[in-house]
C-alpha cells in the first residue's frame, strides 16, 4: 500500500535527490500530488492515469496520495511522470518494491504509455553514478546518459517495455553512449585578406 521511488530535482546544474512516495488508503477515489509541485508536475496526474490505462490497468478505486519529498523545495519539470507511475504500480502491487530500489527514475509519459525524452539527463546520470544507483530514463536519452560514467542504464521506450524488463520477461537492450561529435568546420582563415 506504500511505495517510494528515487528521482531528482534540479537546482541549476546541481541535482537534489527527491523521493516519490505513494500511499493508497481507503476513502473517496482521488489522486493528490503534494510536495510543492509546479504546474507540469500537477498535470502528470492525467498522464499517469492515461498511461496506466494504456497498459490495461485502471487506477485503484482508493485515495492515492503522492508526496514529493523533501516537501519544501519546488519541483519543476515533466520528468516526475515516470517515477509517479512506477510508484503507483508498486503501491498497487503490480511491481515489487525491490525491483525499483536502487534506481534513479526520470521520464515523461505520453497518454499512450510511451516514454518521452526529458532534459537534464546527463546531470541525473552523474548523480546516479555518484550514489551508485541504476538509472531508468527515456530511450531517446540513453546515449546521453551513458556519458555519465560506469552505471547501469535502463533506457525504455514505453512503460510496457520497462515493466517487462523489471519483471524479467523481456530484457531491454544495453545502451550505447552517443557519438563524440565535432561539428563541421566553419569558414577558413584563408578567406581573409589583409
Amino acid at each position: 500500500m506504500h511505495s517510494h521511488i528515487h528521482t531528482i530535482s534540479f537546482r541549476g546544474i546541481d541535482t537534489i535527490p527527491v523521493s516519490v512516495q505513494v500511499h493508497l488508503s481507503n476513502g473517496l477515489p482521488a489522486m493528490a500530488i503534494v510536495g510543492l509541485a509546479d504546474k507540469a508536475v500537477g498535470e502528470s496526474r492525467e498522464r499517469v492515469r492515461a498511461a496506466l490505462s494504456s497498459l490495461g490497468l485502471a487506477l485503484p478505486a482508493k485515495r492515492i496520495a503522492v508526496n514529493l519529498s523533501p516537501a519544501d523545495i519546488v519541483k519543476e519539470g515533466a520528468h516526475f511522470d515516470l517515477p509517479i507511475a512506477l510508484g503507483v504500480l508498486v503501491a498497487m502491487g503490480a511491481l515489487p518494491q525491490d525491483a525499483v530500489d536502487e534506481h534513479l527514475v526520470l521520464g515523461e509519459l505520453s497518454l499512450d504509455g510511451s516514454i518521452q525524452p526529458v532534459s537534464g539527463i546527463l546531470p541525473a546520470a552523474l548523480c546516479a553514478a555518484e550514489r551508485s544507483q541504476r538509472l531508468i530514463c527515456p530511450a531517446e536519452n540513453g546515449p546521453e546518459a551513458a556519458w555519465g560514467g560506469d552505471i547501469d542504464i535502463l533506457a525504455a521506450g514505453s512503460l510496457t517495455e520497462l515493466l517487462n524488463h523489471l519483471r524479467g520477461t523481456q530484457l531491454l537492450s544495453p545502451v550505447k553512449s552517443g557519438m563524440l561529435t565535432t561539428p563541421p568546420s566553419g569558414p577558413d582563415m584563408a578567406d581573409l585578406r589583409g
Binding site: R11, I13, N141, S177, T181, A190, R193
Partner: protein, 305 residues
C-alpha cells in the same frame, strides 16, 4: 585574433562596417583547441539542463554563442521564472561573441562584468539562489560611431567626432577595462581585396595556437591547463619574471596611460601570451610594448580627436 585565441583573452574589435569584424569572429571556433573530456562534460551538462544535446552526443568543439543585440539581461546571464542558464553559461568553456556591442542594452552588457571576473554567475531571486558556471571568452565587435566611418573623413557624418564619443560612451568604462585586447579593424584598400589571398589557413594557425598553449602549460609544470587570461595575480607574481627595464617601462605606462590595477595584470597576461607564441622563455620588452599597444584604443581616451 591569434593572441586572443591562444591566451583566452577578451577581445574588442572596433572598425567601420564591412571591414571584416564578424568574419574574423566566425573563424575563431576553428582556431581554439578542442575541449578536454572534463570540459566537454561540463559543457554538455549545461546544455542538458535546457535539453539541447543533439542525439546524446558529447560535443568536443568549444561552444560559440552569438546572441543578437536585442538580448535581454535575463537571456544573457540567465534567469526567468525557472532561473535557466543564459548565453554566458551556454558559452562556458567557449566563446561569447557580441556583435554590435554598443547596440546591446547597457544594463545587459554591464551584467557581464561580474561573471567575466569570477567565471560563474549566481542568479539570486526571492525563491531561488542558483549558481551556473560561466567561464567564457568574450569577443565583441562594434563600430567606432553611429555612421561607422569615423576614421574616413570623406565619409564620416558631419557630427564626428562628437557622435563617436556618445557612441563609445554606450559601453561603460569598467566594461571596456575588462577587454584585454582592443584592436582597430581597418578597411582594406581595393587593391588588396582584389589580390589573391595570402592568409594562412585555419589549420596551421590552430597548430601554432596548440603549440603555444602547451608551451605555456609547461611553465606551470603542467599543473593546470588554464589559459593565460585566467592567471591569478598570485600566479603572475610567481611565474612572470620581469627584467628591471621592463619594470620601469610598466611603471611609466601605468602613470602615463592611467592603467588600472586590473589593466596592469591584463597587460602582463597578454604579454605572456605573446611570449608563448614566440616560444620565448622570458618576457621581453617588445612583448610588453605590443600588449600595451592593444589597450591603446581605450587609453588614449575614448577616442582620438
Amino acid at each position: 585574433m591569434e593572441i586572443a585565441a591562444t591566451g583566452g583573452h577578451n577581445l574588442l574589435m572596433i572598425g567601420p562596417p564591412g571591414a571584416g569584424k564578424s568574419m574574423l569572429a566566425a573563424r575563431l571556433p576553428d582556431l581554439l583547441p578542442p575541449l578536454s573530456a572534463r570540459e566537454a562534460l561540463e559543457v554538455t551538462v549545461i546544455h542538458s539542463i535546457i535539453g539541447q544535446v543533439p542525439k546524446g552526443g558529447l560535443c568536443q568543439k568549444r561552444p560559440f554563442r552569438e546572441p543578437h543585440h536585442s538580448a535581454s539581461m535575463a537571456a544573457l546571464v540567465g534567469g526567468g521564472q525557472k532561473a535557466m542558464p543564459g548565453e554566458i553559461s551556454l558559452a562556458h568553456n567557449g566563446v561569447l561573441f557580441l556583435d554590435e556591442l554598443a547596440e546591446f542594452n547597457r544594463v545587459a552588457i554591464d551584467s557581464l562584468r561580474q561573471p567575466l571576473e569570477t567565471g560563474e554567475i549566481i542568479i539570486a531571486r526571492a525563491n531561488n539562489h542558483i549558481r551556473y558556471p560561466a567561464r567564457f571568452q568574450l569577443i565583441a565587435a562594434m563600430n567606432p560611431c553611429r555612421c561607422g566611418y569615423l576614421a574616413d573623413a570623406s565619409r564620416a557624418c558631419s557630427r564626428a567626432p562628437d557622435c563617436a564619443r556618445l557612441y563609445m560612451a554606450k559601453v561603460s568604462g569598467p566594461m571596456l577595462d575588462r577587454f584585454d585586447i582592443m584592436i582597430d579593424v581597418a578597411e582594406l584598400p581595393p587593391s588588396e581585396l582584389l589580390s589573391p589571398s595570402v592568409a594562412e589557413n585555419s589549420a596551421s594557425v590552430h597548430r601554432r595556437i596548440l603549440a603555444a598553449r602547451e608551451f605555456g602549460a609547461g611553465r606551470h609544470n603542467g599543473s593546470n591547463s588554464q589559459v593565460n587570461a585566467r592567471l591569478s595575480a598570485d600566479q603572475i607574481d610567481r611565474h612572470i619574471v620581469l627584467a628591471p627595464d621592463i619594470k620601469r617601462l610598466l611603471e611609466e605606462a601605468m602613470t602615463k596611460q592611467k592603467l588600472s590595477a586590473r589593466g596592469f595584470h591584463k597587460v602582463l597576461r597578454v604579454a605572456q601570451t605573446i611570449a608563448d607564441l614566440e616560444r620565448s622563455e622570458t618576457l621581453q620588452r617588445h612583448h610588453v610594448l605590443e600588449a600595451l599597444s592593444y589597450r591603446g584604443v581605450l587609453l588614449s581616451g575614448p577616442l582620438p580627436g
